[in-house]
């Protein structure tokens, strides 16, 4: 990485810090970690979990196998963090790309001897790293505490870090494209959130095949399904990782990555040709 790209990434971090984006996410992540550290009680007696409690109240009197308990805890935490963490990250960071394009700021950046793709990619990578740092802190923190409490160290949970960052990277590409075309922070937030909301609906393909009456509507549904990012199904892949189960279908991941790459390239292409 050259010094210009490093400067762009550093600047994105500074803006995220100043806008409380980083600290806001960090504080929420830390709260979650502290919650698991202090309020979730897990007693292990002779290799089995005898008590699981929250706020001092026992949740279950069942004797749990610690590994099973940790698997379920990991899956629940991963599902929660994947969906709500993703939405939180989108709300928090969607302004970072449009802010760079503000009149009076972009002209000065463009007057510097750097290419436009380098400029927008520097911002993209900086933004991604801000969120990746928080996601890593959150997932790794939860993993360490659950491991410390149960003495079970399943590495599958850590793959959730990669899948969550990958899903965010795809949505960030959408933010870049929307920001470059419309320069609107509101739209740059709304459209990726809409994609997250649409994702579980589009995933009901088998049901819709039966419900939709015409071939054309089924075709349209399938086009949307295959083209748009499959955030919901990446969530399921994350869950299978946490349970240590094999992944049977990687299509949601690679097709979403392809969508993200194409969207990012479109954003860069438009940015390179726009007048400011």
């Amino acid at each position: 990485m050259n010094s210009v790209t490093a400067a762009l990434i550093r600047d994105t971090f500074r803006e995220a810090l100043a806008r409380r984006v980083f600290w806001g996410l960090f504080a929420l992540s830390t709260l979650m970690i502290l919650f698991i550290l202090f309020l979730l009680r897990i007693d292990i007696v002779e290799g089995a979990v005898s008590t699981v409690g929250i706020f001092g109240t026992s949740l279950s009197r069942r004797i749990w196998n610690p590994e099973r308990l940790v698997n379920h805890a990991h899956a629940a935490v991963a599902a929660f963090l994947y969906t709500f963490g993703m939405l939180l990250a989108l709300f928090a960071s969607a302004t970072l790309v449009p802010s760079m394009l503000e009149p009076g700021r972009i002209e000065l950046l463009l007057s510097k001897p750097l290419s436009r793709p380098q400029l927008i990619l520097g911002r993209y990578v900086g933004n991604l790293l801000v969120i990746a740092a928080n996601i890593t802190w959150l997932f790794a923190g939860v993993w360490v505490i659950l491991g410390w409490k149960t003495h079970v160290w399943h590495t599958g949970f850590l793959y959730a870090i990669l899948t969550t960052i990958a899903a965010y990277a795809v949505l960030l590409a959408v933010i870049v494209l929307v920001a470059v075309v419309w320069e609107s922070a509101a739209l740059a937030t709304m459209i990726p959130v809409a994609l997250v909301i649409m994702s579980p609906i589009l995933a009901q393909r088998d049901t819709m095949e039966k419900l939709l009456s015409s071939d054309l509507s089924r075709l349209i549904w399938n086009v949307f399904y295959y083209v748009l990012p499959k955030i919901y199904e990446i969530g399921w892949i994350t869950r299978r990782f946490t349970f240590g189960q094999p992944i049977q279908d990687w299509m949601p991941l690679w097709s979403s990555a392809a969508f993200g790459a194409a969207t990012l390239m479109a954003g860069i292409w438009i940015f390179a040709r726009r007048d400011f």
Binding site: R14, R105, E107, P113, D275
Partner: protein, 307 residues
């Protein structure tokens, strides 16, 4: 960077079209201009004449519809052409989360300045623009004039050979203006080419050696300030001029006791001086008649509007 021409444009044109191409505005219309290396050049024009679009075309913030622009002989679309350029935009919006020193460091890094050179240069330039004490203060606390001075320091960080300044004294108090003029004069002595886009005609006249006037996106006039403001003929001022001779020589009274006369030739001047002296008038001054840059500007713009 071997070219003796700092900026060269040939038929540079920018047409802005509405989204569906129904309306178009020719913001810059076929401008061909040469700015020699080492000069101080003022770009003038009424509001909406196309000055800022012209500057943005030079810096590739706006893409030309046709024509070309080169900086020190390099096509301005090549990013390396912008390496020797320092730029202060009009209506800039510097990131307010940065402090003065951080802002200079960031933009210098983008200009390709190595980290080892930046720290010393930051302190040097903050002192130069009299903001040394504000180095660690966030920009949101800076006044407009302070931001303008900091913006100038930002443009100077990487020791550019060409400085493009868009309204550099906008919002700056008289003391700050004098400081900016002093800095620019020093840069001129060091051979830096200064391209000034300003609507303050007095400032341009005071500082620039050459000017260009743009009107309706076209180049209406270009030349040296000296040539453009030197009028044809001479001006004689005299005191205690008797009314009869005042009227005969078609004088203008600038004061109760002072009259001024304009003549086209040296011969007419000598004849008039003889007549005035013999009538008992006292000659105050004899000088080639001049126009202010403002008069030249207004004449050019009004002529352009009539066409």
């Amino acid at each position: 960077m071997s070219s003796d021409i700092a900026i060269r444009t040939r038929g540079l044109t920018k047409v802005f079209r509405s989204r569906f191409g129904r309306r178009e505005v020719r913001a810059v219309d076929g401008i061909s201009l040469d700015v020699p290396r080492g000069t101080t050049f003022g770009l003038l024009g009424p509001n909406g004449a196309g000055k800022t679009t012209f500057v943005k075309l030079l810096l590739s913030a706006v893409h030309p519809s046709s024509g070309s622009a080169a900086i020190f002989g390099r096509d301005s679309r090549n990013r390396n052409a912008r390496r020797p350029v320092g730029y202060l935009p009009e209506n800039h919006r510097f990131p307010t989360y940065l402090n003065g020193a951080g802002m200079l460091d960031f933009y210098a890094a983008l200009s390709g300045m190595p980290a080892r050179d930046r720290a010393g240069r930051v302190a040097e330039l903050l002192d130069l623009v009299d903001l040394g004490r504000w180095a660690g203060v966030r920009l949101r606390k800076y006044s407009k004039g302070m931001l303008q001075r900091l913006g100038l320091a930002q443009a100077l960080m990487h020791r550019p050979a060409l400085l493009i300044l868009d309204e550099p004294t906008d919002g700056v108090d008289p003391v700050g203006r004098a400081l900016i003029r002093e800095i620019l004069a020093d840069l001129e002595r060091r051979g830096v080419t200064i391209f000034l886009n300003s609507h303050l005609l007095g400032e341009v006249e005071l500082f620039c050696r050459q000017v260009a006037i743009i009107h309706h996106g076209r180049l209406a006039l270009t030349g040296s300030v000296k040539d453009l403001t030197t009028g044809k003929g001479y001006c004689v001022t005299a005191m205690k001029v008797p009314p009869a001779i005042h009227d005969r020589l078609r004088g203008e009274s600038t004061h109760d006791t002072v009259s001024s006369f304009r003549f086209n030739t040296r011969e007419e001047v000598n004849q008039a001086i003889d007549a005035l002296r013999s009538a008992g008038a006292e000659i105050e001054s004899v000088a080639p008649s001049t126009s202010t840059l403002e008069e030249v500007f207004l004449r050019t713009v009004q002529a352009g509007s009539r066409e």
